[in-house]
Protein backbone atom coordinates (compact mmCIF):
# COMPACT_ATOMS: atom_id res chain seq x y z
CA UNK A 1 0.00 0.00 0.00
CA UNK A 2 1.44 3.39 -1.00
CA UNK A 3 0.63 6.69 0.70
CA UNK A 4 -1.54 7.56 -2.30
CA UNK A 5 -3.72 4.53 -1.60
CA UNK A 6 -3.90 5.59 2.05
CA UNK A 7 -5.03 9.12 1.17
CA UNK A 8 -7.58 7.73 -1.30
CA UNK A 9 -8.98 5.32 1.33
CA UNK A 10 -9.29 8.16 3.88
CA UNK A 11 -11.04 10.33 1.30
CA UNK A 12 -13.53 7.54 0.47
CA UNK A 13 -14.17 6.94 4.18
CA UNK A 14 -14.89 10.63 4.85
CA UNK A 15 -17.16 10.82 1.76
CA UNK A 16 -19.17 7.76 2.87
CA UNK A 17 -19.41 9.22 6.38
CA UNK A 18 -20.72 12.56 5.06
CA UNK A 19 -23.19 10.78 2.76
CA UNK A 20 -24.45 8.69 5.67
CA UNK A 21 -25.05 11.85 7.74
CA UNK A 22 -26.95 13.50 4.84
CA UNK A 23 -29.03 10.45 3.88
CA UNK A 24 -30.03 9.36 7.38
CA UNK A 25 -30.45 12.88 8.78
CA UNK A 26 -29.18 11.54 12.09
CA UNK A 27 -28.67 14.27 14.75
CA UNK A 28 -25.09 15.41 15.20
CA UNK A 29 -24.90 14.28 18.85
CA UNK A 30 -25.31 10.69 17.51
CA UNK A 31 -23.13 10.98 14.39
CA UNK A 32 -21.46 14.34 13.86
CA UNK A 33 -20.53 15.23 10.26
CA UNK A 34 -16.82 15.13 9.34
CA UNK A 35 -16.54 18.92 9.21
CA UNK A 36 -17.85 19.28 12.77
CA UNK A 37 -15.33 16.69 13.97
CA UNK A 38 -12.54 18.54 12.14
CA UNK A 39 -13.61 21.78 13.85
CA UNK A 40 -13.61 20.03 17.24
CA UNK A 41 -10.16 18.67 16.49
CA UNK A 42 -8.92 22.19 15.78
CA UNK A 43 -10.71 23.78 18.73
CA UNK A 44 -9.56 21.15 21.26
CA UNK A 45 -6.16 20.49 19.70
CA UNK A 46 -4.21 21.30 22.86
CA UNK A 47 -6.41 19.04 25.00
CA UNK A 48 -6.27 16.22 22.43
CA UNK A 49 -2.49 16.55 22.04
CA UNK A 50 -1.94 16.44 25.80
CA UNK A 51 -4.01 13.25 26.14
CA UNK A 52 -2.61 11.71 22.95
CA UNK A 53 0.90 12.16 24.35
CA UNK A 54 -0.07 10.19 27.47
CA UNK A 55 -1.58 7.37 25.41
CA UNK A 56 1.48 7.37 23.12
CA UNK A 57 3.79 6.94 26.11
CA UNK A 58 1.67 4.08 27.44
CA UNK A 59 1.61 2.33 24.06
CA UNK A 60 5.33 2.78 23.36
CA UNK A 61 6.46 1.70 26.82
CA UNK A 62 4.01 -1.22 26.65
CA UNK A 63 5.43 -2.21 23.25
CA UNK A 64 9.04 -2.05 24.42
CA UNK A 65 8.52 -3.87 27.72
CA UNK A 66 6.07 -6.44 26.28
CA UNK A 67 8.32 -7.19 23.29
CA UNK A 68 11.42 -7.50 25.48
CA UNK A 69 9.63 -9.89 27.85
CA UNK A 70 8.22 -11.84 24.89
CA UNK A 71 11.66 -12.16 23.28
CA UNK A 72 13.28 -13.31 26.54
CA UNK A 73 10.51 -15.82 27.22
CA UNK A 74 10.72 -17.23 23.69
CA UNK A 75 14.51 -17.61 24.00
CA UNK A 76 14.11 -19.34 27.34
CA UNK A 77 11.42 -21.67 26.00
CA UNK A 78 13.49 -22.49 22.92
CA UNK A 79 16.59 -23.39 24.89
CA UNK A 80 15.11 -25.23 27.87
CA UNK A 81 13.06 -28.40 27.63
CA UNK A 82 11.88 -28.08 31.22
CA UNK A 83 10.75 -24.50 30.56
CA UNK A 84 8.74 -25.75 27.60
CA UNK A 85 7.17 -28.45 29.75
CA UNK A 86 6.26 -26.09 32.60
CA UNK A 87 5.81 -22.63 31.07
CA UNK A 88 4.06 -23.39 27.81
CA UNK A 89 0.86 -24.81 29.34
CA UNK A 90 0.75 -21.84 31.73
CA UNK A 91 1.12 -19.43 28.82
CA UNK A 92 -1.65 -21.11 26.84
CA UNK A 93 -3.89 -21.26 29.91
CA UNK A 94 -3.26 -17.57 30.58
CA UNK A 95 -4.81 -16.81 27.20
CA UNK A 96 -8.07 -18.36 28.39
CA UNK A 97 -8.43 -15.42 30.80
CA UNK A 98 -9.70 -12.38 28.89
CA UNK A 99 -7.09 -9.69 29.44
CA UNK A 100 -9.82 -7.01 29.39
CA UNK A 101 -11.34 -8.58 32.50
CA UNK A 102 -8.07 -7.89 34.28
CA UNK A 103 -8.23 -4.13 33.65
CA UNK A 104 -10.05 -3.22 36.91
CA UNK A 105 -7.61 -5.34 38.92
CA UNK A 106 -4.64 -3.72 37.21
CA UNK A 107 -6.01 -0.26 37.99
CA UNK A 108 -6.45 -1.37 41.59
CA UNK A 109 -2.88 -2.67 41.77
CA UNK A 110 -1.03 -0.07 39.69
CA UNK A 111 -3.21 2.98 40.22
CA UNK A 112 -4.79 5.59 37.95
CA UNK A 113 -1.48 6.64 36.39
CA UNK A 114 0.11 5.34 33.22
CA UNK A 115 1.52 2.12 34.74
CA UNK A 116 -1.77 0.20 34.87
CA UNK A 117 -2.22 0.97 31.14
CA UNK A 118 1.35 0.00 30.34
CA UNK A 119 0.88 -3.32 32.15
CA UNK A 120 -2.35 -3.83 30.23
CA UNK A 121 -0.56 -3.21 26.91
CA UNK A 122 2.29 -5.50 28.02
CA UNK A 123 -0.13 -8.31 28.88
CA UNK A 124 -1.99 -8.00 25.62
CA UNK A 125 1.10 -8.12 23.37
CA UNK A 126 3.24 -10.52 25.41
CA UNK A 127 1.64 -13.70 24.09
CA UNK A 128 1.66 -12.87 20.35
CA UNK A 129 5.31 -11.77 20.50
CA UNK A 130 6.37 -14.82 22.55
CA UNK A 131 4.42 -17.23 20.41
CA UNK A 132 5.58 -15.86 17.03
CA UNK A 133 9.26 -15.64 18.03
CA UNK A 134 9.25 -19.04 19.74
CA UNK A 135 7.79 -20.61 16.58
CA UNK A 136 10.56 -19.01 14.55
CA UNK A 137 13.26 -20.21 16.95
CA UNK A 138 11.95 -23.78 16.77
CA UNK A 139 11.81 -23.77 12.97
CA UNK A 140 15.50 -23.20 12.29
CA UNK A 141 16.30 -25.19 9.13
CA UNK A 142 17.77 -28.52 10.24
CA UNK A 143 20.62 -28.19 7.73
CA UNK A 144 21.90 -25.04 9.49
CA UNK A 145 22.00 -26.88 12.80
CA UNK A 146 23.76 -29.88 11.22
CA UNK A 147 26.35 -27.53 9.77
CA UNK A 148 26.85 -25.84 13.14
CA UNK A 149 27.30 -29.21 14.82
CA UNK A 150 29.98 -30.36 12.35
CA UNK A 151 31.69 -27.01 12.96
CA UNK A 152 31.82 -27.76 16.70
CA UNK A 153 29.70 -24.68 17.48
CA UNK A 154 28.70 -23.96 21.05
CA UNK A 155 24.99 -23.94 21.96
CA UNK A 156 25.00 -20.24 22.84
CA UNK A 157 26.70 -19.21 19.62
CA UNK A 158 24.38 -21.42 17.56
CA UNK A 159 21.46 -19.76 19.33
CA UNK A 160 22.70 -16.25 18.59
CA UNK A 161 24.28 -16.58 15.15
CA UNK A 162 21.81 -19.04 13.64
CA UNK A 163 18.57 -19.65 15.54
CA UNK A 164 18.01 -16.05 16.65
CA UNK A 165 18.84 -14.57 13.29
CA UNK A 166 16.82 -17.04 11.25
CA UNK A 167 13.82 -16.38 13.56
CA UNK A 168 13.87 -12.59 13.03
CA UNK A 169 11.15 -12.59 10.34
CA UNK A 170 8.86 -14.44 12.79
CA UNK A 171 9.67 -11.88 15.47
CA UNK A 172 8.72 -9.19 12.95
CA UNK A 173 5.30 -10.84 12.47
CA UNK A 174 4.77 -10.89 16.24
CA UNK A 175 5.73 -7.21 16.53
CA UNK A 176 3.30 -6.28 13.74
CA UNK A 177 0.49 -7.88 15.74
CA UNK A 178 1.72 -6.17 18.91
CA UNK A 179 1.59 -2.76 17.21
CA UNK A 180 -2.12 -3.24 16.58
CA UNK A 181 -2.93 -4.73 19.99
CA UNK A 182 -0.92 -2.40 22.25
CA UNK A 183 -3.15 0.71 21.71
CA UNK A 184 -6.23 -1.44 22.43
CA UNK A 185 -4.71 -2.47 25.76
CA UNK A 186 -3.81 1.09 26.71
CA UNK A 187 -7.22 2.54 25.82
CA UNK A 188 -9.14 -0.19 27.64
CA UNK A 189 -6.98 0.54 30.69
CA UNK A 190 -7.90 4.22 30.35
CA UNK A 191 -11.61 3.42 30.12
CA UNK A 192 -11.52 1.51 33.36
CA UNK A 193 -9.73 4.15 35.36
CA UNK A 194 -7.60 7.10 34.30
CA UNK A 195 -7.30 10.83 34.55
CA UNK A 196 -5.50 11.27 31.23
CA UNK A 197 -5.23 9.69 27.80
CA UNK A 198 -7.33 9.43 24.65
CA UNK A 199 -9.53 6.68 26.14
CA UNK A 200 -10.22 8.91 29.16
CA UNK A 201 -10.93 11.87 26.88
CA UNK A 202 -13.42 9.81 24.88
CA UNK A 203 -15.27 8.81 28.07
CA UNK A 204 -15.24 12.41 29.28
CA UNK A 205 -16.59 13.69 25.95
CA UNK A 206 -19.21 10.94 25.90
CA UNK A 207 -20.47 11.93 29.36
CA UNK A 208 -20.88 15.55 28.21
CA UNK A 209 -22.49 14.56 24.89
CA UNK A 210 -19.56 16.12 23.02
CA UNK A 211 -19.73 13.46 20.33
CA UNK A 212 -17.61 15.56 17.96
CA UNK A 213 -14.75 15.58 20.49
CA UNK A 214 -15.22 11.85 21.04
CA UNK A 215 -14.86 11.24 17.31
CA UNK A 216 -11.87 13.59 17.15
CA UNK A 217 -10.12 11.61 19.91
CA UNK A 218 -11.02 8.35 18.16
CA UNK A 219 -9.56 9.55 14.87
CA UNK A 220 -6.35 10.67 16.56
CA UNK A 221 -6.11 7.26 18.24
CA UNK A 222 -6.58 5.55 14.87
CA UNK A 223 -3.89 7.76 13.31
CA UNK A 224 -1.52 6.94 16.20
CA UNK A 225 -2.16 3.21 15.72
CA UNK A 226 -1.60 3.42 11.97
CA UNK A 227 1.66 5.39 12.50
CA UNK A 228 2.87 2.82 15.04
CA UNK A 229 1.97 0.01 12.66
CA UNK A 230 3.87 1.71 9.82
CA UNK A 231 6.99 2.20 11.96
CA UNK A 232 6.87 -1.40 13.22
CA UNK A 233 6.26 -2.62 9.68
CA UNK A 234 9.46 -0.89 8.53
CA UNK A 235 11.31 -2.49 11.46
CA UNK A 236 9.82 -5.92 10.67
CA UNK A 237 10.88 -5.59 7.03
CA UNK A 238 14.40 -4.74 8.19
CA UNK A 239 14.41 -7.82 10.41
CA UNK A 240 13.26 -10.00 7.51
CA UNK A 241 15.68 -8.42 5.04
CA UNK A 242 17.90 -11.01 3.32
CA UNK A 243 15.89 -13.94 4.67
Amino acid sequence: MTWKHGVLSAFVLVAVWQLLVIITGVPSFILPPPLKVAKAMWFYHALIAENAWVTTQEVLLGMVIGSALGILTALHLATSKSARAILRPILVFSQAVPVFALAPILVLWFGYGIWSKIVMAVLIIYFPVTSAFFDGLMKTPAGYLDLAKTMSASGTRTLWHIRFKSALPSLGSGLRLAAVYAPIGAVIGEWVGASKGLGYLMLLANGRVKTDLMFAALIVLAILTVCLHLVVDILARKLAKDH
Partner: protein, 242 residues
Amino acid sequence: MTASLGIKLEGRAAIDSITLFALISLDIHPNQWTCLLGPSGVGKSTVLRLIADLKTYVDFDGTITTSDGQPLTDRVAYMAQSDLLFPWLSVAENVNIGARLRGEKTDEKRVLDMISRVGLSDHDTKKPAALSGGQRQRVALARTLMEDRPIILLDEPFSALDAKTRAEMQELTFALLKERTVLLVTHDPAEAARLAHNGYIMQPQGLIPMEMPETPPVRPFDDPLTLACQTALFRVLRKGGA
Protein backbone atom coordinates in the same frame (compact mmCIF):
# COMPACT_ATOMS: atom_id res chain seq x y z
CA MET B 1 45.92 -29.69 7.66
CA THR B 2 46.24 -33.02 8.47
CA ALA B 3 47.73 -36.42 8.58
CA SER B 4 46.22 -39.24 6.53
CA LEU B 5 43.12 -40.53 8.16
CA GLY B 6 40.96 -43.45 7.12
CA ILE B 7 37.60 -44.55 8.48
CA LYS B 8 35.91 -47.91 8.72
CA LEU B 9 32.20 -48.21 9.34
CA GLU B 10 30.80 -51.62 10.14
CA GLY B 11 27.26 -52.27 11.18
CA ARG B 12 23.61 -52.39 10.31
CA ALA B 13 20.74 -49.95 10.75
CA ALA B 14 17.05 -50.32 11.38
CA ILE B 15 14.08 -48.02 11.88
CA ASP B 16 11.60 -49.43 14.42
CA SER B 17 13.09 -52.92 13.94
CA ILE B 18 12.69 -52.71 10.15
CA THR B 19 16.06 -53.07 8.47
CA LEU B 20 17.24 -50.01 6.60
CA PHE B 21 20.50 -51.64 5.58
CA ALA B 22 21.96 -55.04 6.46
CA LEU B 23 25.48 -55.52 7.77
CA ILE B 24 27.89 -53.36 5.79
CA SER B 25 31.61 -52.81 5.98
CA LEU B 26 32.64 -49.51 4.46
CA ASP B 27 36.31 -48.62 4.11
CA ILE B 28 37.02 -44.96 3.50
CA HIS B 29 40.63 -44.82 2.41
CA PRO B 30 42.97 -42.07 3.60
CA ASN B 31 43.48 -39.18 1.21
CA GLN B 32 41.22 -40.67 -1.43
CA TRP B 33 37.71 -40.13 -2.69
CA THR B 34 35.31 -42.91 -1.77
CA CYS B 35 31.97 -42.85 -3.49
CA LEU B 36 28.78 -44.29 -2.04
CA LEU B 37 26.27 -44.77 -4.80
CA GLY B 38 22.74 -46.00 -4.52
CA PRO B 39 19.07 -45.29 -5.02
CA SER B 40 17.21 -42.81 -2.86
CA GLY B 41 16.11 -44.06 0.55
CA VAL B 42 18.67 -46.83 0.82
CA GLY B 43 20.52 -45.17 3.69
CA LYS B 44 23.50 -43.49 1.98
CA SER B 45 22.95 -40.18 3.74
CA THR B 46 22.38 -42.04 7.01
CA VAL B 47 25.86 -43.56 6.71
CA LEU B 48 27.28 -40.09 6.17
CA ARG B 49 25.33 -38.65 9.08
CA LEU B 50 26.48 -41.47 11.36
CA ILE B 51 30.09 -40.64 10.52
CA ALA B 52 29.43 -36.91 11.05
CA ASP B 53 27.73 -37.72 14.37
CA LEU B 54 24.58 -35.96 13.20
CA LYS B 55 21.10 -36.87 14.33
CA THR B 56 19.57 -39.86 12.52
CA TYR B 57 16.28 -41.62 13.03
CA VAL B 58 17.79 -45.11 12.87
CA ASP B 59 19.05 -47.60 15.40
CA PHE B 60 22.63 -48.21 14.34
CA ASP B 61 24.23 -51.40 15.56
CA GLY B 62 27.90 -51.21 14.72
CA THR B 63 31.14 -49.32 15.03
CA ILE B 64 32.91 -46.43 13.35
CA THR B 65 36.66 -46.54 13.76
CA THR B 66 39.51 -44.38 12.52
CA SER B 67 42.91 -45.45 11.27
CA ASP B 68 44.65 -43.57 14.10
CA GLY B 69 42.26 -44.82 16.76
CA GLN B 70 41.25 -41.27 17.77
CA PRO B 71 37.63 -40.06 17.81
CA LEU B 72 36.25 -38.20 14.81
CA THR B 73 35.15 -35.22 16.86
CA ASP B 74 36.29 -31.91 15.29
CA ARG B 75 37.86 -33.69 12.36
CA VAL B 76 34.93 -33.74 9.93
CA ALA B 77 33.66 -31.10 7.52
CA TYR B 78 30.29 -31.43 5.85
CA MET B 79 28.88 -30.20 2.57
CA ALA B 80 25.25 -30.91 1.70
CA GLN B 81 23.07 -30.79 -1.40
CA SER B 82 21.72 -27.46 -0.24
CA ASP B 83 24.51 -24.89 0.05
CA LEU B 84 23.35 -23.96 3.60
CA LEU B 85 24.56 -20.40 3.19
CA PHE B 86 23.13 -17.94 5.69
CA PRO B 87 21.24 -15.38 3.60
CA TRP B 88 21.83 -12.54 6.06
CA LEU B 89 25.63 -12.92 5.90
CA SER B 90 28.00 -11.86 3.12
CA VAL B 91 30.09 -14.37 1.19
CA ALA B 92 33.14 -13.65 3.40
CA GLU B 93 31.08 -13.94 6.59
CA ASN B 94 29.59 -17.23 5.38
CA VAL B 95 33.05 -18.60 4.65
CA ASN B 96 34.16 -17.56 8.12
CA ILE B 97 31.05 -18.83 9.94
CA GLY B 98 32.86 -21.81 11.52
CA ALA B 99 35.31 -19.53 13.37
CA ARG B 100 32.43 -17.30 14.44
CA LEU B 101 30.45 -20.25 15.76
CA ARG B 102 33.43 -21.43 17.77
CA GLY B 103 34.27 -17.94 19.04
CA GLU B 104 37.66 -17.94 17.30
CA LYS B 105 39.46 -14.94 15.89
CA THR B 106 38.77 -14.16 12.25
CA ASP B 107 41.66 -14.72 9.88
CA GLU B 108 40.58 -12.28 7.18
CA LYS B 109 43.52 -13.01 4.89
CA ARG B 110 42.73 -16.71 4.92
CA VAL B 111 39.04 -16.07 4.29
CA LEU B 112 39.87 -13.98 1.20
CA ASP B 113 42.37 -16.62 0.09
CA MET B 114 39.70 -19.34 0.27
CA ILE B 115 37.25 -17.16 -1.65
CA SER B 116 39.86 -16.55 -4.32
CA ARG B 117 40.66 -20.29 -4.53
CA VAL B 118 37.06 -20.99 -5.52
CA GLY B 119 37.20 -18.17 -8.09
CA LEU B 120 34.94 -15.66 -6.35
CA SER B 121 37.45 -12.92 -5.50
CA ASP B 122 35.19 -10.04 -6.47
CA HIS B 123 32.17 -11.39 -4.65
CA ASP B 124 33.30 -11.42 -1.01
CA THR B 125 30.96 -8.62 0.11
CA LYS B 126 27.89 -9.90 -1.77
CA LYS B 127 24.98 -11.64 -0.12
CA PRO B 128 24.17 -15.21 -1.26
CA ALA B 129 20.95 -14.01 -2.96
CA ALA B 130 23.12 -12.11 -5.47
CA LEU B 131 24.91 -15.31 -6.55
CA SER B 132 24.00 -18.11 -8.98
CA GLY B 133 23.48 -21.69 -7.79
CA GLY B 134 26.97 -22.67 -8.91
CA GLN B 135 28.57 -19.65 -7.21
CA ARG B 136 26.70 -20.41 -3.99
CA GLN B 137 28.02 -23.96 -4.02
CA ARG B 138 31.52 -22.53 -4.53
CA VAL B 139 31.05 -20.44 -1.39
CA ALA B 140 29.98 -23.61 0.44
CA LEU B 141 33.17 -25.24 -0.84
CA ALA B 142 35.29 -22.31 0.41
CA ARG B 143 33.56 -22.60 3.79
CA THR B 144 34.38 -26.34 3.84
CA LEU B 145 38.03 -25.64 2.97
CA MET B 146 38.16 -22.97 5.67
CA GLU B 147 37.38 -25.65 8.24
CA ASP B 148 40.60 -27.43 7.27
CA ARG B 149 39.43 -30.84 8.45
CA PRO B 150 41.00 -34.13 7.32
CA ILE B 151 37.66 -35.82 6.59
CA ILE B 152 35.21 -34.27 4.16
CA LEU B 153 31.69 -35.62 3.86
CA LEU B 154 29.86 -34.63 0.70
CA ASP B 155 26.14 -35.37 0.58
CA GLU B 156 25.13 -35.00 -3.08
CA PRO B 157 26.57 -31.48 -3.22
CA PHE B 158 26.33 -31.21 -7.01
CA SER B 159 22.94 -32.75 -7.64
CA ALA B 160 21.00 -29.48 -7.78
CA LEU B 161 23.33 -27.89 -10.35
CA ASP B 162 22.92 -27.81 -14.13
CA ALA B 163 25.11 -30.20 -16.14
CA LYS B 164 27.79 -27.68 -17.12
CA THR B 165 28.09 -26.13 -13.65
CA ARG B 166 28.05 -29.59 -12.08
CA ALA B 167 31.02 -30.73 -14.20
CA GLU B 168 32.93 -27.54 -13.32
CA MET B 169 32.14 -27.90 -9.62
CA GLN B 170 33.20 -31.56 -9.63
CA GLU B 171 36.57 -30.58 -11.09
CA LEU B 172 37.10 -27.64 -8.76
CA THR B 173 36.04 -29.57 -5.67
CA PHE B 174 38.27 -32.50 -6.53
CA ALA B 175 41.24 -30.22 -7.19
CA LEU B 176 40.81 -28.43 -3.85
CA LEU B 177 40.07 -31.55 -1.78
CA LYS B 178 42.64 -33.80 -3.46
CA GLU B 179 44.67 -34.39 -0.32
CA ARG B 180 41.73 -35.14 1.96
CA THR B 181 39.82 -38.24 2.87
CA VAL B 182 36.50 -37.73 1.13
CA LEU B 183 33.23 -39.65 1.29
CA LEU B 184 30.93 -38.62 -1.55
CA VAL B 185 27.33 -39.75 -1.40
CA THR B 186 25.64 -39.60 -4.79
CA HIS B 187 22.98 -41.26 -6.91
CA ASP B 188 24.69 -40.34 -10.17
CA PRO B 189 26.84 -43.14 -11.71
CA ALA B 190 28.54 -40.62 -14.02
CA GLU B 191 29.69 -38.58 -11.03
CA ALA B 192 31.04 -41.66 -9.27
CA ALA B 193 32.84 -42.82 -12.44
CA ARG B 194 34.55 -39.43 -12.78
CA LEU B 195 35.52 -38.76 -9.19
CA ALA B 196 35.95 -41.90 -7.12
CA HIS B 197 39.14 -43.75 -6.29
CA ASN B 198 36.93 -46.32 -4.59
CA GLY B 199 33.27 -46.97 -5.26
CA TYR B 200 30.52 -48.82 -3.45
CA ILE B 201 26.94 -49.40 -4.46
CA MET B 202 24.64 -49.47 -1.49
CA GLN B 203 21.57 -51.67 -1.42
CA PRO B 204 19.28 -52.79 1.41
CA GLN B 205 21.13 -56.13 1.37
CA GLY B 206 24.50 -54.46 1.87
CA LEU B 207 27.40 -52.88 0.01
CA ILE B 208 28.74 -53.98 -3.36
CA PRO B 209 32.36 -52.83 -3.89
CA MET B 210 32.84 -51.65 -7.46
CA GLU B 211 35.92 -51.74 -9.58
CA MET B 212 36.93 -48.22 -10.54
CA PRO B 213 39.16 -47.28 -13.51
CA GLU B 214 42.88 -47.26 -12.78
CA THR B 215 43.27 -43.77 -14.22
CA PRO B 216 43.31 -41.10 -11.53
CA PRO B 217 40.28 -38.86 -11.00
CA VAL B 218 39.04 -36.45 -12.19
CA ARG B 219 38.46 -38.61 -15.27
CA PRO B 220 37.28 -37.09 -18.52
CA PHE B 221 33.57 -37.70 -18.92
CA ASP B 222 34.06 -39.05 -22.48
CA ASP B 223 36.98 -41.34 -21.66
CA PRO B 224 36.14 -44.97 -22.65
CA LEU B 225 37.17 -46.22 -19.19
CA THR B 226 34.94 -43.64 -17.47
CA LEU B 227 32.03 -44.50 -19.73
CA ALA B 228 32.55 -48.24 -19.20
CA CYS B 229 32.65 -47.72 -15.42
CA GLN B 230 29.55 -45.55 -15.57
CA THR B 231 27.73 -48.27 -17.55
CA ALA B 232 28.84 -50.96 -15.10
CA LEU B 233 27.66 -48.90 -12.12
CA PHE B 234 24.36 -48.20 -13.83
CA ARG B 235 23.85 -51.93 -14.58
CA VAL B 236 24.34 -52.87 -10.94
CA LEU B 237 22.06 -50.06 -9.83
CA ARG B 238 19.33 -51.23 -12.24
CA LYS B 239 19.75 -54.85 -11.15
CA GLY B 240 19.52 -53.83 -7.51
CA GLY B 241 16.35 -51.91 -8.16
CA ALA B 242 14.70 -54.77 -10.16
